[in-house]
Subunit: 447 residues, 2 copies
């Protein structure tokens, strides 16, 4: 893995948009201080740092049992309970995984009825293991989807419905834990110190990964490697997590880069960006601060967003992710008409990466700060490094912004209004508040 940050530096893109080396180094003492705090907090707030070293035997055992007994494996979860598994599935299995392998992987995430039907049409519920994941044990979407699935299972299997369920939840608290205990359902623990968006390397992400055949030892090895580097190196020019955090923080707070675009040049990392979006937004979007994470995919978004990135409002820092080796490639034929003969002999993978270089050069000319993370290939080890690096960069950024990166206080309000609108007991006052707050006064209607 390489992290190239040349193009965020003032010597390349100028001082209005870029960072001075001495500016970066001026954070030296601050970084050293926070580095010490993080080492001490690894058993508490930074508990995600411990996950690479966990005992995975129960996860593997459960995964093997699922692999032996089921054709399909479906996660029922949303947010931190789905984005990790989705990211691992989409980055580390083939696009046509479900056509070629068992168990197939599915996700019940949203409460979108059309999506629900479509997923249901793909599976025979009797032959499906449903992994219900929720830390709180009571997430509305997850419980709604689960309650419908449970009824279907009961209709088909009677009391044996239990065998098709695995719960991943808090070891003690919440509805799902209690219900699982009463009903005698297989359960895995989410360590209580871990929040949803930092949970991908816990059983939340590891069970699905293991079931679909991803080498979770390699995944954790990559994370360990990154932990090792970041524990030893407190110098910002050698610590990739701190460097990424500082590059984003300085460009945000001192150069007005309020948007962090992540743009992999491979569709396989599309869900990695979705995972990053939650991590960055929910951790740092507090006290009127934080950057808005934006997803883009190369080369597709060159034809959609590049005009804006180059000549629109100057509020962006871009992180490219480049992959050097693809597991397959296709070569453009030798015999082509003159006008397009310059493509002859190149492969699609080469063109992809040359387009990335061309785009970077164009952005340098427009003085748009950009970082490039290069992976030699997408594999569990590299993904483990990447995941851990971003988790640590996010945790470290909390100290830069002076906010708590591990809570999400603003999410509760909408949930309470939803409870009230669904008629949940105890939320009568909230319903009253809604009625006072919500009007539809200004509207245009088209018949």
């Amino acid at each position: 893995m390489r992290i190239d940050y040349t193009n965020v530096m003032a010597e390349v893109i100028g001082e209005r948009d870029g960072i001075l080396r001495e500016e970066l180094l001026s954070f030296r003492h601050f970084v050293a201080e926070v580095h010490q705090i993080i080492q001490k907090e690894k058993n508490r707030k930074f508990y995600f740092c411990k996950l690479p070293y966990q005992d995975t035997s129960q996860v593997k055992e459960t995964a093997n049992w699922i692999r032996e007994n089921f054709e399909n494996f479906a996660v029922i979860g949303i947010g931190g309970s789905s984005l990790g598994a989705k990211m691992l599935f989409n980055s580390l299995t083939e696009f046509n995984h479900n056509k070629k392998n068992r168990p197939r992987f599915y996700l019940f995430e949203n409460v979108d009825p059309e999506r629900f039907r479509a997923t249901l049409e793909e599976i025979d519920v009797e032959k499906t293991c449903f992994n219900v994941i929720t830390k709180s044990g009571s997430t509305v979407e997850t419980i709604a989807n689960f309650s419908i699935i449970m009824q279907m299972l009961k209709e088909k299997l009677g009391d044996r419905y239990r065998e098709n369920l695995v719960f991943t939840t808090d070891p003690e608290k919440g509805f799902l834990r209690k219900f699982g205990q009463e009903e005698g359902i297989k359960m895995l623990d989410i360590p209580p110190q871990i929040g949803g968006r930092f949970s991908v390397l816990s059983p939340v992400g590891l069970l699905p990964a293991s079931v679909i055949g991803i080498d979770i030892d390699q995944l954790l090895s990559g994370a360990k490697k990154m932990d090792l580097i970041c524990s030893i190196e407190e110098h910002v020019e050698h610590n990739p997590a701190y460097l990424i955090a500082l590059a984003h923080y300085i460009t945000n707070m001192r150069r007005g880069k309020t948007i962090s675009v992540m743009m992999p040049y491979t569709e396989k990392l599309s869900s990695f960006v979705d995972w990053y979006r939650q991590l960055w937004a929910e951790s740092l979007g507090k006290d009127g601060l934080g950057q808005t994470p934006v997803k883009a995919i190369g080369t597709v978004d060159q034809h959609s967003q590049l005009q804006l990135y180059r000549e629109g409002i100057r509020d962006k820092i871009i992180t490219f992710i480049q992959v050097e080796n693809f597991p397959v490639d296709f070569r453009i034929p030798e015999e082509l008409p003159d006008e397009i003969s310059y493509l002859s002999g190149h492969t699609l993978g080469e063109i992809l990466n040359k387009e990335l270089l061309g785009t970077k050069a164009a952005l340098i000319k427009s003085k748009v700060p950009n970082i490039t993370i290069t992976l030699d290939r997408i594999d569990p080890y590299n993904m483990g490094m990447l995941i851990y690096m971003y988790e640590l960069a996010t945790g470290f950024s909390g100290y830069l912004y002076k906010i708590n990166p591990f809570d999400q206080p603003a999410v509760e309000e909408g949930k309470k209004f939803t409870y009230a609108l669904l008629g949940r007991k105890g939320f009568e006052e909230k319903l009253q508040e809604f009625k006072e707050l919500y009007r539809e006064k200004y509207r245009i209607e088209i018949q």
Copy 2:
């Protein structure tokens, strides 16, 4: 269709973030003036306004011929040449369309080798009609994908390879037109006045839509209806396109809302947002101006982005899209444990829309401006209205920002560097420029 803009108004969210009614009305004369210009420009810059009235007989004939002769239909195109067809396919057919219907629909968009392989594995090229779409006739990704596909077709079919191709391109200019003429390939015209991102209601989007069974007459009827309303109503409080443009412009330039989030509460409109992202970014991202369009999906992104939207940097205006009727729905069972019994009897669709209301109420409390577009259902007529409304809003916005919304000058630079890096003749100087510009000086390497 309803457009509710109550929650962008100062009387709801305050003057720091919201718009005063008199402020909106103060644009009256400006709007009337631009309205007159647009009516006159419909044969030139605003030619997309004419598309609803086009003769579609050639498109329908070609579509019927494809439907009768092929199992699969694949668009080879990118940006404005793919986003429209993708949006129509994803919003107006079932999620499992390809499992139930012929012809199946595929897209060769990116030059990602893994995606290329995955799509290729799905189809038998002999039984596939490939619709190559490029206005310029020479888009790198499109020509690269096409040249590989053409070789495969020739290997299987010899000279008959032509029969599996339809080109959609400029009526006179460019490589693809010339090549199609020489080889005798079926071709459809992209009207020369129309740019890629305004082309979905031309043969660029209509042929794919018609092939996959979408009622394009209804689609165009919806667009006509919107054209009629917007041609008659020049009052900003009655013209939905001008209202949407002004709400975004005022909140952007006078209230610092530099980000326009579009957040449908239905996964079917996911690709509609991708289409909007290109339209908004590439049209208005000029002269250091424009808003960055951001995609979010309800309810999923409540669990990822809502914390940031409520308590992060105050730079967003949000457009929700709500659907009232789903073609299918699922009811939560009546018998549920006490803790979750408040869900009993509700349907997934109801929960989805109540979550939207809860989220809106939470955003009102945080004074985040938001608009809601409500569709009674997703159908071709409503999609036609929505598409036309956003195209007109974008064209109109060009006058507000005083920029040309129909060009994309900043996209060329990256293309030239890419040509140079691929060794294209005539770009030797550009290669030299690249070498002087591009370095990798600051990096962290991990072995």
